[in-house]
């Protein structure tokens, strides 16, 4: 059977992940960053479960109320509670980040692996062509067109981001797979007659998992940040509330001397993005077999 191949793969995998975990545990910045991300995740979960920030859409307060016990961060131009909106946006951030990260990583992994495995064939050429084409279509045109073609679907922005973000992942995975496919365990898998798809998805792709993990965290951050620009251009979140929308709202408030919206959204977003970046860095270091600790 393919015991040899599996053993090889397991050994490779085990050592990598064990070593990475040991390394990561000793990276204090990384651990703190992970804890911060988890705290945000809990806030987001609470929003989903309706524990807090349920009143984000109410217009009960006065216009631009200052900080008070009733409105912790004051209110916006139509009297909505900024704290609730900022907290509610955490959920949106995770929703956008997770969907885009998972979607982009999945597509990137599959297409990248296939292209890498069949490198220098027409399949590889086709994937490379597709990547080149999507890279060259102006991003805003793509988003606007997708937004229109999906009518007013709330997923238009997510799909547009996935459609472009997978490319980076696919390029890396393709490179990794090209490296891996010459290795012993793949050759033995060939030797015992396993199907090509089995080899790609059962044996090669799992060995690129460290790349995928890091890419996913990067896509997560990129998605949250792109959301700000897209929301500013009116191509972002359709229903609900997001930090990007709050920042866009605030662009015509800051010069009037009302910074609550701007600060609440930017600080919360900055915190999450920063923590995620740090976490991603630590993860990258931990998973890099060359770094020595």
């Amino acid at each position: 059977m393919n015991a040899a191949a599996e053993a090889m793969q397991r050994r490779h995998g085990d050592s990598l992940w064990n070593k990475a975990w040991r390394k990561f545990r000793h990276d204090r910045v990384g651990v703190v960053a992970l804890l911060v991300v988890c705290a945000y995740a809990i806030v987001a979960l609470g929003v989903v479960l309706g524990w807090w920030a349920t009143g984000w859409a109410d217009i009960s307060g006065p216009k631009w109320a200052p900080l008070s016990s009733e409105h912790w961060l004051g209110t916006n131009i139509i009297g909505q509670d900024i704290f609730s909106r900022a907290v509610y946006s955490t959920r949106t951030a995770f929703e956008v980040g997770l969907i885009v990260a998972l979607g982009a990583t999945f597509i990137g992994a599959v297409l990248g692996a296939i292209a890498g495995f069949f490198s220098a064939t027409w399949i590889d050429e086709a994937v490379i062509w597709l990547m080149g084409v999507l890279d060259s279509v102006p991003f805003i045109l793509l988003v606007a067109a997708i937004a229109y073609s999906l009518q007013d679907s709330p997923w238009a922005m997510h799909i547009a981001m996935i459609a472009t973000f997978w490319i980076g992942t696919a390029r890396l995975v393709r490179g990794e797979v090209i490296k891996l496919k010459g290795q012993e365990f793949v050759e033995s898998a060939h030797a015992i007659g396993l199907g090509r798809m089995t080899i790609i998805f059962r044996h090669i792709l799992p060995n690129t998992f460290h790349v995928l993990l890091v890419q996913a965290t990067l896509s997560f951050v990129a998605a949250i940040k792109s959301e700000v620009i897209l929301s500013f251009l009116g191509l972002g979140v359709k229903d609900g509330m997001s930090w990007g929308l709050m920042i866009s709202e605030s662009t015509f408030e800051v010069l009037a001397g009302y910074f609550n919206n701007f600060i609440a959204a930017s600080v919360l977003m900055f915190g999450l993005v920063m923590a995620f970046n740090m976490f991603s860095d630590a993860l990258q270091d931990a998973l890099d077999p060359r770094t020595v600790k």
Binding site: W129, I146, V228, F232, M274, Q284
Partner: protein
């Protein structure tokens, strides 16, 4: 001669890419892009007037005919006139592209040069305090949204509420001084946002080169670190660095920067393309899309040539990698 043949072959190989980009973009524009008709008819249009305008815009012709015409326009580089202002597309591009270039160039050069520099320092002191400091700042920079950076710098450096050092908006390149005055704040915003990414990327590249076997071997043989650094690490790192730089060029030339241009009132291509996208100004869009694709092909070619220029030996290595 060899290089010339090689370039020609590469350019030919780029045709499918140009076809793909233009086909997909044109499909998106035609079937999903905004319909300009109702902007061009008056307040009380009749069905007849609507039909008239649609026919002038070419909306009533079959897709294949229109795409073929697009291809002809690409070959002749004549894209007609903007449907919004009636100005010739060629004169719009000739007017706006140089502006966008002048706007983007300082930020692009500084962002990359500083990025490489900081990355070298960080990589050299890898794991040390300096490294942590640089990478920490990079992470901070990466966590700030572009929009926030632009608004922040504008208020801080230009407005009467801030330091009031530079013009709030406008564009003037008549004298070097005027150019510097107008380009400084946008450049700072660009560098601020791009530097984190660049430093991080370049550091990763350099660290990768540092940990290669031949570097370790060289080190084991007692070759001075400075020499290793220059000969083995820096030279080999140039390949991915040059690739990244060259591939950013088409985006700078043709996309400009919408946010920079609209906040600082700079008449570049970014604002023009964005307006064309949201109003469905097809002639302008077609030109922008086609030029982007062509520039990408050229950029690819340039990278390949750069491989050889940077280090002839690398090109061999690169192709097997």
């Amino acid at each position: 001669m060899e290089v010339l043949l090689y370039s020609l072959r590469k350019l030919l190989a780029g045709i499918p890419l140009v076809l793909g980009v233009t086909l997909i973009s044109f499909l998106l524009i035609v079937y999903f892009g905004p319909d300009k008709t109702y902007e061009l008819v008056g307040k009380n249009p009749t069905a007849e007037q609507i039909a008239e305008v649609r026919s002038q815009l070419g909306y009533d012709r079959p897709f294949v005919t229109r795409y073929m015409e697009y291809l002809r326009e690409i070959v002749t580089l004549d894209f007609g006139s903007s449907e919004s202002t009636d100005e010739k597309v060629s004169s719009i591009l000739a007017r706006t592209i140089p502006v966008s270039l002048l706007l983007a160039l300082p930020g692009f050069i500084l962002g990359n040069a500083l990025g490489v520099l900081l990355a070298l320092v960080a990589a050299y002191f890898r794991g040390g305090l300096v490294d942590k400091l640089i990478m920490g700042s990079a992470a901070v920079g990466m966590s700030v949204s572009y929009l926030i950076a632009i608004i922040g710098f504008q208020i801080l450096l230009s407005s009467a509420d801030g330091l009031d050092l530079f013009p709030v908006r406008g564009w003037d390149t008549s004298t070097p001084l005027a150019y510097i005055q107008h380009v400084t704040v946008p450049t700072l915003a660009t560098v601020f946002v791009a530097l984190g990414y660049n430093t991080r990327f370049y550091r990763a590249v350099i660290v990768e080169e540092m940990t290669r076997d031949h570097v370790r071997t060289a080190r084991a043989f007692g070759i001075p670190p400075a020499k290793i650094f220059y000969r083995n690490i820096l030279k080999n790192s140039m390949v991915p660095i040059v690739t990244r730089v060259v591939f950013s060029i088409p985006l700078i030339v043709i996309s400009g920067s919408l946010l920079l241009e609209s906040y600082f009132g700079i008449p570049g291509i970014g604002k023009v393309s964005y307006d064309a996208i949201i109003t469905g100004d097809q002639p302008v869009l077609k030109a922008v899309v086609a030029l982007t694709a062509i520039l990408f092909v050229v950029a690819q070619l340039l990278t390949d040539i750069c491989y050889r220029l940077v280090d002839p030996r690398v090109s061999l290595g690169a192709s097997t990698r």
